[in-house]
Symmetry: C2
Subunit: 221 residues, 2 copies
DNA sequence: TCTTCATTCTAACAATCATTATATTGTTTT
DNA sequence: AAAACAATATAATGATTGTTAGAATGAAGA
Protein backbone atom coordinates (compact mmCIF):
# COMPACT_ATOMS: atom_id res chain seq x y z
CA UNK A 1 0.00 0.00 0.00
CA UNK A 2 1.14 3.49 -0.80
CA UNK A 3 1.20 5.86 2.13
CA UNK A 4 -0.10 9.40 2.00
CA UNK A 5 3.45 10.65 2.16
CA UNK A 6 4.42 8.62 -0.89
CA UNK A 7 1.38 9.90 -2.75
CA UNK A 8 2.34 13.44 -1.87
CA UNK A 9 5.81 12.87 -3.28
CA UNK A 10 4.31 11.32 -6.41
CA UNK A 11 1.99 14.23 -6.91
CA UNK A 12 4.80 16.77 -6.71
CA UNK A 13 6.83 14.58 -9.04
CA UNK A 14 4.10 14.78 -11.65
CA UNK A 15 3.87 18.56 -11.46
CA UNK A 16 7.64 18.71 -11.69
CA UNK A 17 7.37 16.72 -14.90
CA UNK A 18 5.54 19.65 -16.46
CA UNK A 19 8.21 21.94 -15.03
CA UNK A 20 10.90 19.79 -16.62
CA UNK A 21 9.18 20.05 -19.97
CA UNK A 22 9.43 23.82 -19.60
CA UNK A 23 13.07 23.79 -18.51
CA UNK A 24 14.76 23.66 -21.91
CA UNK A 25 15.12 26.71 -24.17
CA UNK A 26 14.53 24.70 -27.31
CA UNK A 27 11.37 23.14 -25.95
CA UNK A 28 10.04 26.58 -25.05
CA UNK A 29 10.79 27.76 -28.56
CA UNK A 30 8.96 24.74 -29.98
CA UNK A 31 5.97 25.50 -27.77
CA UNK A 32 5.94 29.10 -29.00
CA UNK A 33 5.93 27.84 -32.56
CA UNK A 34 3.17 25.37 -31.79
CA UNK A 35 1.13 28.15 -30.22
CA UNK A 36 0.77 29.49 -33.77
CA UNK A 37 -0.92 26.28 -34.90
CA UNK A 38 -0.07 22.68 -35.65
CA UNK A 39 3.15 21.93 -37.51
CA UNK A 40 5.09 18.89 -38.68
CA UNK A 41 8.37 17.84 -37.12
CA UNK A 42 10.27 19.02 -40.16
CA UNK A 43 8.73 22.48 -40.12
CA UNK A 44 9.32 22.79 -36.39
CA UNK A 45 12.95 21.73 -36.76
CA UNK A 46 13.51 24.27 -39.54
CA UNK A 47 11.85 27.13 -37.73
CA UNK A 48 13.61 26.40 -34.45
CA UNK A 49 16.94 25.99 -36.27
CA UNK A 50 17.69 22.50 -34.99
CA UNK A 51 17.91 19.15 -36.73
CA UNK A 52 15.02 16.78 -37.08
CA UNK A 53 16.03 14.13 -34.61
CA UNK A 54 16.71 16.67 -31.90
CA UNK A 55 13.34 18.24 -32.54
CA UNK A 56 11.79 14.79 -32.38
CA UNK A 57 13.45 14.07 -29.05
CA UNK A 58 12.27 17.35 -27.55
CA UNK A 59 8.78 16.81 -28.90
CA UNK A 60 8.77 13.41 -27.27
CA UNK A 61 9.45 15.04 -23.90
CA UNK A 62 6.61 17.49 -24.49
CA UNK A 63 4.31 14.67 -25.50
CA UNK A 64 5.14 12.68 -22.38
CA UNK A 65 4.26 15.72 -20.31
CA UNK A 66 0.99 15.76 -22.32
CA UNK A 67 1.58 19.35 -23.36
CA UNK A 68 1.29 18.41 -27.05
CA UNK A 69 -0.69 15.94 -29.14
CA UNK A 70 0.06 14.40 -32.51
CA UNK A 71 -1.90 13.60 -35.63
CA UNK A 72 -0.66 11.60 -38.58
CA UNK A 73 -1.31 12.74 -42.13
CA UNK A 74 0.39 10.61 -44.74
CA UNK A 75 4.10 10.70 -44.14
CA UNK A 76 3.89 13.66 -41.83
CA UNK A 77 3.18 13.82 -38.14
CA UNK A 78 1.64 17.05 -36.99
CA UNK A 79 2.14 18.28 -33.48
CA UNK A 80 -0.19 20.69 -31.73
CA UNK A 81 -0.67 22.06 -28.22
CA UNK A 82 -2.97 19.74 -26.30
CA UNK A 83 -5.04 22.62 -24.92
CA UNK A 84 -5.22 26.36 -24.79
CA UNK A 85 -4.19 26.22 -21.16
CA UNK A 86 -0.71 25.24 -22.35
CA UNK A 87 -0.14 28.45 -24.23
CA UNK A 88 -1.54 30.36 -21.28
CA UNK A 89 0.99 28.64 -19.03
CA UNK A 90 3.79 29.54 -21.44
CA UNK A 91 2.73 33.18 -21.45
CA UNK A 92 2.51 33.14 -17.66
CA UNK A 93 5.99 31.63 -17.41
CA UNK A 94 7.43 34.20 -19.79
CA UNK A 95 5.77 37.08 -17.99
CA UNK A 96 7.03 35.91 -14.63
CA UNK A 97 10.52 35.48 -16.08
CA UNK A 98 10.37 38.98 -17.55
CA UNK A 99 9.20 40.41 -14.25
CA UNK A 100 11.99 38.84 -12.21
CA UNK A 101 15.04 38.56 -14.44
CA UNK A 102 16.74 41.84 -15.30
CA UNK A 103 19.05 40.08 -17.75
CA UNK A 104 16.00 38.96 -19.68
CA UNK A 105 14.58 42.47 -19.87
CA UNK A 106 17.97 43.76 -21.00
CA UNK A 107 18.34 41.13 -23.70
CA UNK A 108 14.81 41.82 -24.90
CA UNK A 109 15.56 45.53 -25.09
CA UNK A 110 18.65 44.79 -27.16
CA UNK A 111 16.59 42.69 -29.54
CA UNK A 112 14.66 45.81 -30.53
CA UNK A 113 16.92 48.01 -32.65
CA UNK A 114 14.54 50.98 -32.65
CA UNK A 115 12.71 51.08 -29.32
CA UNK A 116 10.75 54.14 -30.48
CA UNK A 117 8.88 51.96 -32.97
CA UNK A 118 7.24 49.95 -30.20
CA UNK A 119 3.60 50.88 -29.71
CA UNK A 120 2.62 52.20 -26.32
CA UNK A 121 -1.17 51.94 -26.52
CA UNK A 122 -3.08 49.38 -24.50
CA UNK A 123 -4.54 46.42 -26.33
CA UNK A 124 -8.04 47.88 -26.01
CA UNK A 125 -7.07 51.25 -27.49
CA UNK A 126 -5.26 49.53 -30.32
CA UNK A 127 -8.26 47.34 -31.03
CA UNK A 128 -10.54 50.38 -31.14
CA UNK A 129 -8.22 52.25 -33.53
CA UNK A 130 -8.04 49.21 -35.78
CA UNK A 131 -11.82 48.90 -35.75
CA UNK A 132 -12.21 52.53 -36.78
CA UNK A 133 -9.61 52.09 -39.50
CA UNK A 134 -7.28 54.69 -38.00
CA UNK A 135 -4.44 52.20 -38.13
CA UNK A 136 -3.70 49.14 -40.23
CA UNK A 137 -2.66 46.01 -38.35
CA UNK A 138 -0.53 43.59 -40.35
CA UNK A 139 0.28 40.00 -39.43
CA UNK A 140 3.73 39.24 -40.80
CA UNK A 141 3.74 35.51 -40.03
CA UNK A 142 3.37 32.91 -42.78
CA UNK A 143 -0.14 32.76 -44.23
CA UNK A 144 -0.84 29.32 -42.79
CA UNK A 145 -0.43 30.67 -39.27
CA UNK A 146 -2.60 33.68 -40.04
CA UNK A 147 -5.35 31.40 -41.30
CA UNK A 148 -5.44 29.40 -38.09
CA UNK A 149 -5.88 32.44 -35.87
CA UNK A 150 -5.09 36.14 -36.01
CA UNK A 151 -5.82 39.42 -34.28
CA UNK A 152 -9.11 41.18 -35.06
CA UNK A 153 -8.96 43.46 -38.14
CA UNK A 154 -5.48 42.18 -38.98
CA UNK A 155 -4.38 41.77 -42.58
CA UNK A 156 -2.06 38.97 -43.61
CA UNK A 157 1.21 40.32 -44.97
CA UNK A 158 3.93 37.69 -44.56
CA UNK A 159 7.42 39.08 -44.18
CA UNK A 160 8.55 37.14 -47.24
CA UNK A 161 5.99 38.92 -49.45
CA UNK A 162 6.08 42.44 -48.09
CA UNK A 163 8.47 43.90 -50.64
CA UNK A 164 6.29 42.73 -53.52
CA UNK A 165 3.13 44.05 -51.92
CA UNK A 166 4.12 47.53 -50.79
CA UNK A 167 1.37 49.01 -52.96
CA UNK A 168 -1.28 47.44 -50.74
CA UNK A 169 -0.17 49.42 -47.72
CA UNK A 170 -1.29 52.97 -46.93
CA UNK A 171 1.28 55.75 -46.68
CA UNK A 172 -0.92 58.13 -44.72
CA UNK A 173 -1.84 55.82 -41.85
CA UNK A 174 0.09 54.20 -39.09
CA UNK A 175 0.83 50.54 -39.73
CA UNK A 176 1.25 48.18 -36.77
CA UNK A 177 3.05 44.88 -37.34
CA UNK A 178 2.93 41.85 -35.09
CA UNK A 179 4.27 38.32 -35.31
CA UNK A 180 4.58 35.26 -33.06
CA UNK A 181 5.21 37.04 -29.81
CA UNK A 182 7.79 39.05 -27.88
CA UNK A 183 10.69 36.74 -28.75
CA UNK A 184 9.95 36.58 -32.45
CA UNK A 185 11.99 38.67 -34.85
CA UNK A 186 9.63 38.79 -37.83
CA UNK A 187 7.90 42.05 -36.91
CA UNK A 188 11.26 43.60 -36.08
CA UNK A 189 12.40 42.84 -39.64
CA UNK A 190 9.13 44.14 -41.04
CA UNK A 191 9.66 47.44 -39.23
CA UNK A 192 13.16 47.77 -40.65
CA UNK A 193 11.96 47.06 -44.17
CA UNK A 194 8.85 49.23 -44.19
CA UNK A 195 10.63 52.00 -42.32
CA UNK A 196 13.25 52.08 -45.08
CA UNK A 197 10.46 52.52 -47.61
CA UNK A 198 9.07 55.51 -45.77
CA UNK A 199 6.01 53.98 -44.13
CA UNK A 200 4.73 55.01 -40.69
CA UNK A 201 5.43 51.61 -39.20
CA UNK A 202 5.36 50.47 -35.59
CA UNK A 203 5.37 47.07 -33.99
CA UNK A 204 3.67 45.37 -31.10
CA UNK A 205 5.13 42.53 -29.07
CA UNK A 206 1.95 40.52 -28.65
CA UNK A 207 1.36 37.38 -30.61
CA UNK A 208 -1.92 35.50 -30.67
CA UNK A 209 -1.11 33.71 -27.38
CA UNK A 210 -0.43 36.92 -25.50
CA UNK A 211 -3.54 38.53 -26.97
CA UNK A 212 -5.70 35.59 -25.97
CA UNK A 213 -4.09 35.28 -22.53
CA UNK A 214 -5.06 38.91 -21.94
CA UNK A 215 -8.68 37.84 -22.34
CA UNK A 216 -9.24 39.26 -25.83
CA UNK A 217 -10.71 37.28 -28.68
CA UNK A 218 -9.14 36.20 -31.95
CA UNK A 219 -10.42 35.73 -35.48
CA UNK A 220 -10.15 32.40 -37.22
CA UNK A 221 -9.94 31.22 -40.82
CA UNK B 1 28.64 42.07 -30.93
CA UNK B 2 25.79 39.74 -30.12
CA UNK B 3 23.55 38.87 -33.03
CA UNK B 4 19.77 38.83 -32.83
CA UNK B 5 19.84 35.05 -33.04
CA UNK B 6 22.15 34.84 -30.03
CA UNK B 7 19.91 37.21 -28.11
CA UNK B 8 16.92 35.07 -28.96
CA UNK B 9 18.71 32.01 -27.62
CA UNK B 10 19.69 33.93 -24.48
CA UNK B 11 16.14 35.07 -23.91
CA UNK B 12 14.76 31.53 -24.12
CA UNK B 13 17.58 30.38 -21.86
CA UNK B 14 16.47 32.84 -19.20
CA UNK B 15 12.85 31.73 -19.33
CA UNK B 16 14.04 28.13 -19.17
CA UNK B 17 15.87 29.06 -15.98
CA UNK B 18 12.51 29.70 -14.35
CA UNK B 19 11.29 26.42 -15.80
CA UNK B 20 14.29 24.65 -14.27
CA UNK B 21 13.48 26.13 -10.89
CA UNK B 22 10.04 24.55 -11.24
CA UNK B 23 11.36 21.18 -12.39
CA UNK B 24 12.12 19.59 -9.03
CA UNK B 25 9.44 18.14 -6.73
CA UNK B 26 11.18 19.38 -3.61
CA UNK B 27 11.48 22.89 -4.93
CA UNK B 28 7.78 22.93 -5.76
CA UNK B 29 7.00 21.77 -2.26
CA UNK B 30 9.18 24.53 -0.84
CA UNK B 31 7.38 27.08 -2.99
CA UNK B 32 4.02 25.82 -1.73
CA UNK B 33 5.24 26.23 1.83
CA UNK B 34 6.57 29.70 1.09
CA UNK B 35 3.22 30.64 -0.43
CA UNK B 36 1.87 30.45 3.14
CA UNK B 37 4.29 33.14 4.26
CA UNK B 38 7.97 33.62 4.97
CA UNK B 39 9.84 30.86 6.78
CA UNK B 40 13.37 30.10 7.91
CA UNK B 41 15.48 27.44 6.25
CA UNK B 42 15.11 25.19 9.26
CA UNK B 43 11.32 25.38 9.28
CA UNK B 44 11.21 24.79 5.54
CA UNK B 45 13.49 21.78 5.84
CA UNK B 46 11.36 20.30 8.62
CA UNK B 47 8.07 20.86 6.88
CA UNK B 48 9.35 19.50 3.58
CA UNK B 49 10.95 16.54 5.32
CA UNK B 50 14.48 17.13 4.04
CA UNK B 51 17.71 18.13 5.76
CA UNK B 52 19.01 21.66 5.99
CA UNK B 53 21.78 21.52 3.45
CA UNK B 54 19.49 20.07 0.83
CA UNK B 55 16.87 22.71 1.56
CA UNK B 56 19.59 25.32 1.35
CA UNK B 57 20.72 24.01 -2.04
CA UNK B 58 17.20 24.06 -3.45
CA UNK B 59 16.54 27.50 -2.02
CA UNK B 60 19.69 28.71 -3.69
CA UNK B 61 18.33 27.57 -7.05
CA UNK B 62 15.06 29.36 -6.36
CA UNK B 63 16.92 32.48 -5.33
CA UNK B 64 19.02 32.46 -8.49
CA UNK B 65 15.82 32.24 -10.51
CA UNK B 66 14.66 35.26 -8.44
CA UNK B 67 11.53 33.44 -7.36
CA UNK B 68 12.36 33.98 -3.69
CA UNK B 69 14.02 36.66 -1.57
CA UNK B 70 15.76 36.45 1.76
CA UNK B 71 15.86 38.50 4.93
CA UNK B 72 18.16 37.97 7.86
CA UNK B 73 16.89 38.20 11.44
CA UNK B 74 19.49 37.32 14.01
CA UNK B 75 20.64 33.79 13.42
CA UNK B 76 17.77 33.02 11.11
CA UNK B 77 17.42 33.64 7.41
CA UNK B 78 13.85 33.99 6.27
CA UNK B 79 12.85 33.14 2.74
CA UNK B 80 9.76 34.49 1.03
CA UNK B 81 8.26 34.50 -2.46
CA UNK B 82 9.60 37.49 -4.36
CA UNK B 83 6.15 38.44 -5.67
CA UNK B 84 2.59 37.30 -5.75
CA UNK B 85 3.03 36.41 -9.41
CA UNK B 86 5.20 33.50 -8.29
CA UNK B 87 2.42 31.80 -6.38
CA UNK B 88 0.09 32.47 -9.29
CA UNK B 89 2.55 30.75 -11.59
CA UNK B 90 2.73 27.78 -9.22
CA UNK B 91 -1.04 27.49 -9.16
CA UNK B 92 -1.15 27.76 -12.93
CA UNK B 93 1.48 25.04 -13.27
CA UNK B 94 -0.36 22.75 -10.89
CA UNK B 95 -3.68 23.30 -12.63
CA UNK B 96 -2.20 22.58 -16.02
CA UNK B 97 -0.55 19.45 -14.65
CA UNK B 98 -3.84 18.34 -13.13
CA UNK B 99 -5.66 18.97 -16.38
CA UNK B 100 -3.24 16.94 -18.48
CA UNK B 101 -1.84 14.16 -16.33
CA UNK B 102 -4.29 11.40 -15.46
CA UNK B 103 -1.79 9.82 -13.07
CA UNK B 104 -1.79 13.04 -11.10
CA UNK B 105 -5.57 13.13 -10.85
CA UNK B 106 -5.55 9.48 -9.77
CA UNK B 107 -2.92 10.04 -7.11
CA UNK B 108 -4.80 13.07 -5.83
CA UNK B 109 -8.01 11.06 -5.61
CA UNK B 110 -6.19 8.40 -3.60
CA UNK B 111 -4.90 11.05 -1.22
CA UNK B 112 -8.48 11.74 -0.17
CA UNK B 113 -9.72 8.83 1.94
CA UNK B 114 -13.35 9.99 2.00
CA UNK B 115 -14.12 11.71 -1.31
CA UNK B 116 -17.67 12.43 -0.10
CA UNK B 117 -16.25 14.92 2.39
CA UNK B 118 -15.00 17.20 -0.38
CA UNK B 119 -17.18 20.27 -0.79
CA UNK B 120 -18.79 20.78 -4.15
CA UNK B 121 -19.90 24.40 -3.90
CA UNK B 122 -18.21 27.11 -5.90
CA UNK B 123 -15.95 29.51 -4.07
CA UNK B 124 -18.54 32.27 -4.34
CA UNK B 125 -21.34 30.16 -2.85
CA UNK B 126 -19.05 29.04 -0.05
CA UNK B 127 -18.07 32.61 0.68
CA UNK B 128 -21.70 33.66 0.85
CA UNK B 129 -22.60 30.81 3.21
CA UNK B 130 -19.66 31.69 5.45
CA UNK B 131 -20.72 35.33 5.44
CA UNK B 132 -24.23 34.39 6.52
CA UNK B 133 -22.89 32.10 9.20
CA UNK B 134 -24.50 29.01 7.68
CA UNK B 135 -21.15 27.22 7.77
CA UNK B 136 -18.00 27.59 9.83
CA UNK B 137 -14.73 27.76 7.91
CA UNK B 138 -11.68 26.61 9.86
CA UNK B 139 -8.06 27.13 8.89
CA UNK B 140 -6.09 24.15 10.22
CA UNK B 141 -2.62 25.49 9.39
CA UNK B 142 -0.27 26.72 12.13
CA UNK B 143 -1.35 30.04 13.64
CA UNK B 144 1.60 31.92 12.16
CA UNK B 145 0.44 31.11 8.66
CA UNK B 146 -3.15 32.06 9.50
CA UNK B 147 -1.96 35.41 10.78
CA UNK B 148 -0.18 36.25 7.54
CA UNK B 149 -3.22 35.61 5.36
CA UNK B 150 -6.39 33.55 5.52
CA UNK B 151 -9.74 33.11 3.82
CA UNK B 152 -12.54 35.54 4.68
CA UNK B 153 -14.59 34.55 7.77
CA UNK B 154 -12.14 31.73 8.55
CA UNK B 155 -11.31 30.82 12.15
CA UNK B 156 -7.85 29.63 13.11
CA UNK B 157 -7.94 26.07 14.42
CA UNK B 158 -4.52 24.48 13.96
CA UNK B 159 -4.59 20.72 13.52
CA UNK B 160 -2.36 20.34 16.57
CA UNK B 161 -4.88 22.08 18.81
CA UNK B 162 -8.18 20.75 17.48
CA UNK B 163 -8.65 17.97 20.01
CA UNK B 164 -8.29 20.36 22.93
CA UNK B 165 -10.65 22.88 21.37
CA UNK B 166 -13.57 20.74 20.26
CA UNK B 167 -15.92 22.74 22.48
CA UNK B 168 -15.43 25.81 20.30
CA UNK B 169 -16.93 24.10 17.27
CA UNK B 170 -20.67 23.89 16.53
CA UNK B 171 -22.34 20.51 16.26
CA UNK B 172 -25.38 21.75 14.35
CA UNK B 173 -23.60 23.46 11.47
CA UNK B 174 -21.41 22.25 8.65
CA UNK B 175 -17.71 22.86 9.27
CA UNK B 176 -15.39 23.34 6.30
CA UNK B 177 -11.66 22.84 6.81
CA UNK B 178 -8.90 24.05 4.52
CA UNK B 179 -5.12 24.04 4.69
CA UNK B 180 -2.18 24.86 2.42
CA UNK B 181 -3.66 23.68 -0.83
CA UNK B 182 -4.65 20.58 -2.77
CA UNK B 183 -1.45 18.69 -1.98
CA UNK B 184 -1.51 19.39 1.75
CA UNK B 185 -2.70 16.71 4.12
CA UNK B 186 -3.62 18.84 7.13
CA UNK B 187 -7.30 19.31 6.27
CA UNK B 188 -7.56 15.61 5.41
CA UNK B 189 -6.39 14.80 8.94
CA UNK B 190 -8.76 17.36 10.41
CA UNK B 191 -11.69 15.71 8.61
CA UNK B 192 -10.73 12.31 9.97
CA UNK B 193 -10.44 13.64 13.50
CA UNK B 194 -13.58 15.78 13.60
CA UNK B 195 -15.57 13.16 11.73
CA UNK B 196 -14.66 10.64 14.44
CA UNK B 197 -16.05 13.07 17.02
CA UNK B 198 -19.35 13.32 15.21
CA UNK B 199 -19.03 16.75 13.63
CA UNK B 200 -20.48 17.63 10.21
CA UNK B 201 -17.09 18.20 8.67
CA UNK B 202 -16.08 18.71 5.05
CA UNK B 203 -12.92 19.92 3.43
CA UNK B 204 -11.98 22.14 0.54
CA UNK B 205 -8.83 21.82 -1.52
CA UNK B 206 -8.09 25.51 -1.90
CA UNK B 207 -5.33 27.16 0.03
CA UNK B 208 -4.73 30.89 0.13
CA UNK B 209 -2.82 30.81 -3.19
CA UNK B 210 -5.60 29.06 -5.05
CA UNK B 211 -8.18 31.38 -3.52
CA UNK B 212 -6.24 34.44 -4.50
CA UNK B 213 -5.40 33.10 -7.97
CA UNK B 214 -9.15 32.73 -8.52
CA UNK B 215 -9.45 36.48 -8.07
CA UNK B 216 -10.92 36.46 -4.56
CA UNK B 217 -9.55 38.51 -1.70
CA UNK B 218 -7.94 37.38 1.53
CA UNK B 219 -7.91 38.71 5.07
CA UNK B 220 -4.66 39.62 6.77
CA UNK B 221 -3.41 39.80 10.37
C1' DT C 1 34.52 30.50 23.38
C1' DC C 2 30.48 27.71 22.52
C1' DT C 3 26.08 27.01 20.31
C1' DT C 4 22.90 27.46 16.66
C1' DC C 5 21.57 28.34 12.00
C1' DA C 6 22.82 28.45 7.35
C1' DT C 7 25.84 28.00 3.48
C1' DT C 8 29.61 26.08 0.86
C1' DC C 9 32.64 22.43 -0.69
C1' DT C 10 33.38 17.99 -2.10
C1' DA C 11 32.54 13.77 -4.22
C1' DA C 12 29.49 10.07 -5.84
C1' DC C 13 25.77 9.10 -8.46
C1' DA C 14 21.88 9.99 -11.62
C1' DA C 15 19.70 12.51 -15.26
C1' DT C 16 19.81 15.20 -19.34
C1' DC C 17 21.82 16.88 -23.75
C1' DA C 18 23.27 17.10 -28.57
C1' DT C 19 25.06 14.17 -31.88
C1' DT C 20 25.48 10.21 -34.82
C1' DA C 21 23.85 6.00 -36.40
C1' DT C 22 20.06 2.81 -36.91
C1' DA C 23 15.17 1.44 -36.94
C1' DT C 24 10.25 2.11 -37.89
C1' DT C 25 6.35 3.50 -40.41
C1' DG C 26 3.79 4.75 -44.15
C1' DT C 27 4.02 6.22 -49.25
C1' DT C 28 5.30 5.77 -53.88
C1' DT C 29 7.29 3.34 -57.68
C1' DT C 30 8.05 -0.56 -60.22
C1' DA D 1 3.67 -7.27 -53.83
C1' DA D 2 8.55 -5.94 -53.42
C1' DA D 3 11.83 -2.18 -53.52
C1' DA D 4 12.99 2.45 -52.90
C1' DC D 5 12.00 6.53 -50.51
C1' DA D 6 10.71 10.10 -47.13
C1' DA D 7 9.42 11.50 -42.46
C1' DT D 8 9.93 10.31 -37.65
C1' DA D 9 11.45 7.81 -33.89
C1' DT D 10 14.71 5.38 -31.15
C1' DA D 11 19.33 3.86 -29.37
C1' DA D 12 23.96 4.53 -28.16
C1' DT D 13 27.67 7.72 -27.19
C1' DG D 14 30.20 11.02 -24.52
C1' DA D 15 29.81 15.63 -22.37
C1' DT D 16 27.40 18.32 -19.22
C1' DT D 17 24.56 19.23 -15.57
C1' DG D 18 21.63 18.20 -11.41
C1' DT D 19 20.91 15.77 -6.97
C1' DT D 20 22.21 14.37 -2.65
C1' DA D 21 24.74 13.46 1.70
C1' DG D 22 28.75 14.38 4.60
C1' DA D 23 32.28 17.45 6.28
C1' DA D 24 33.97 21.99 6.72
C1' DT D 25 33.17 27.01 6.98
C1' DG D 26 30.68 31.49 8.15
C1' DA D 27 27.85 34.43 10.87
C1' DA D 28 25.28 35.82 14.71
C1' DG D 29 24.14 35.48 19.50
C1' DA D 30 24.84 33.83 24.37
Amino acid sequence: MTTKQELKALVYEKVAQIGKALSSPKRLELLDLLAQGEKSVEILANEAGIDKQLASAHLKALREARLVNTRREGKYIFYRLSAQSVSRLCVNLRETAEEHLVELRDALAQMTSQPETLISETREVLLEKARKGEIVVIDVRPTTEFNIAHLPYARSMPLTEIEQRLAELPRDKEIVAYCRGPFCLLSEDAVAMLGAHGFHIKRMLDGVSEWEAAGLSLEHG
